[in-house]
């Protein structure tokens, strides 16, 4: 990589060239960053700009019609679109409930696992497995073998308890999907929280114990503040991935008023059969802008993840 050769010999410059050196220093620093940055800019910003352009056009492929520039009309239609509002609401509910539930469950499980007991390693291994399962597979297994009204294990259990058989996925589509998402993401949150617990300095905990602090007090005053950035990290990563959920919706319900989230909605309106590319692009632009606003507030104002001392 040419990046390396540029950086290779910082000591090679003669001593008198220090002024020139200073001048070039910012660029020297930037060099290692450039390949990744250029790659990301090309791969994400070109499609994004194309998308903005599409969103300003009336462009329907089926039936084929010439693409015409219509300015902001697609955006104007947006607030009146009941389906878009439904999808936005589903996205918010799906993301928020799945993130919070998996974070809480993951934290509790991490606390349970962060102590010695028989077969601790095996229990942890079993617990992380759902995160490793392919989303398509997870959706299919839950739909066909857990939630199915005919052959489902969940219904078998509820039948023993004297309840009627329910086709969960069609009766409660959103809740069913959220259950699968929580099943998959709880282990991820648990891993992050375990990392947090294990990075807690042992001396501090020992000192608290020597000083006669109660378990609850230690947990509230030492462990929780220590875990906070880990919770923020879990929330950030969980939100980024869960806001994008597509596979589970596709294989479990294939959309529907109660389970179509924005990604699936955009898909339905464009390549999934709607073929209204102009409108679909406008919707996706709105979602991007909204997520970036939320992320900016969350990351830059509320969280300390992006803070820390500036190293000159």
């Amino acid at each position: 990589m040419q990046v390396d050769t540029v950086q290779q010999e910082p000591g090679a410059a003669p001593a008198g060239a220090s002024r020139r050196d200073e001048l070039h220093r910012p660029w020297r620093r930037r060099f290692p960053l450039l390949p990744a940055l250029v790659f990301t800019v090309l791969l994400t910003q070109i499609p994004f700009l194309m998308n903005i352009w599409y969103s300003l056009t009336d462009w329907t492929i089926v039936p084929p019609a010439p693409r015409t520039f219509i300015g902001l009309d697609n955006y104007g239609d947006l607030p009146d679109d009941q389906f878009f509002r439904d999808a936005a609401w589903v996205t918010v509910v799906m993301t928020v409930t799945a993130v919070i539930a998996s974070l809480v469950l993951g934290t509790l499980l991490a606390l349970l696992l962060d102590r010695k007991f028989f077969g601790q390693g095996v229990a942890r291994t079993l617990l992380i497995t759902p995160f490793l399962i392919m989303p398509v597979v997870a959706g299919l297994v839950w739909k066909n073998q857990m939630f199915s009204g005919l052959y489902g294990v969940v219904n078998w259990v509820t039948a023993r308890l004297g309840m009627d058989s329910i086709e969960f996925v069609s009766r409660y589509p959103l809740a069913s999907i959220v259950v699968v998402l929580v099943w998959q993401w709880t282990p991820f949150m648990m891993l992050i929280m375990l990392a947090g617990l294990q990075s807690q300095p042992a001396e501090v905990l020992e000192a608290a114990k020597v000083d006669g602090a109660s378990a609850v007090g230690t947990f509230r005053q030492l462990t929780l503040p220590h875990l906070r950035p880990y919770m923020e990290l879990g929330t950030l990563l969980g939100t980024i991935y869960l806001i994008q959920v597509f596979d589970h919706v596709a294989v479990m319900t294939g959309g529907g008023p109660d389970s179509t989230n924005i990604p699936y909605f955009v898909y339905q309106r464009s390549i999934g059969g709607g073929w209204e590319f102009g409108k679909a692009s406008a919707y996706s632009i709105v979602v991007v802008v909204a997520s970036i606003v939320v992320a900016t507030v969350a990351l830059r104002v509320l969280s300390r993840l992006l803070q820390g001392e500036e190293i000159a």
Partner: protein, 286 residues
Amino acid sequence: MAGSAGARLGVGERRSVNAVMGVVAWLIAVLFFFPVFWMILSSFKEEQDANTSPKLFFSPTLDRYSDVTESTTGLLSFREAFFNSFWVVMVSTVVVLLLAIPAAYALAIRPVPKWRDVLFFFISTKFLPVVASILPLWILARDFDLLNTRLVLMILYTGMNLPLAVWMLRSFFREIPRELIEAAEIDGAGLRGQLASVILPIAVPGIAATALLCVIFAWNEYFYAVQLNPADGSTIPIWVTTNISTRGDFLAKLSAASVLASVPVVLAGWLAQKRMIRGLAMGAIK
């Protein structure tokens, strides 16, 4: 230990609290694993045993595995899908690391001006809904003659995992004591020398954790694959869904396919779990 039951309990009591907590943890672990267990069980069933009210006892068979791995001309075979997935995942993960390691260096060790904005930019690219970029990507892929190739997935998976890798590696690199890097610098080591002699050896657990996450997300990716590469050059997630039939029972067959699809990543995750926790603990947040 963080959650130990506190100083006020006697040793015996603390031990019994731990035992109770252990039992609770085990119960939840079994509950979480159950769907996977059930999937494995179904994969050894005859279709009529899988498509009936839940059955724990049956005469096991390997026939579903031979059914799904048998190749039919014109259809995506398991072998093909597996090798496609393997290459796409490997190449994209290696490229991600090659790009992310120097970038993380420039964000953590010798931070560029405005490194915070750069980092935020990387993360913000993850907010473009994948479905929203698919149309321009499809058009670009068509124009560059990349539809139905492994290359298009390699490029997209690299882009998909790069922000996460940059983010994580940057945190790991910040954990490295600055004196060590300065010492290497005084010895005249350039970027490559510093990476090889100081940074990489210390950051290995973090890099491994990052690589593993990239592998998991790339191996499991479905949407790009189904939209841009649905034909016979495609990957394992697509192959799994080809085992859903509209006629006749398919649950046992689908389970066998699902097990085969999951094994590589699940095994990798099991083997690397401790390293992954250590990697995350190393400072995924600092």
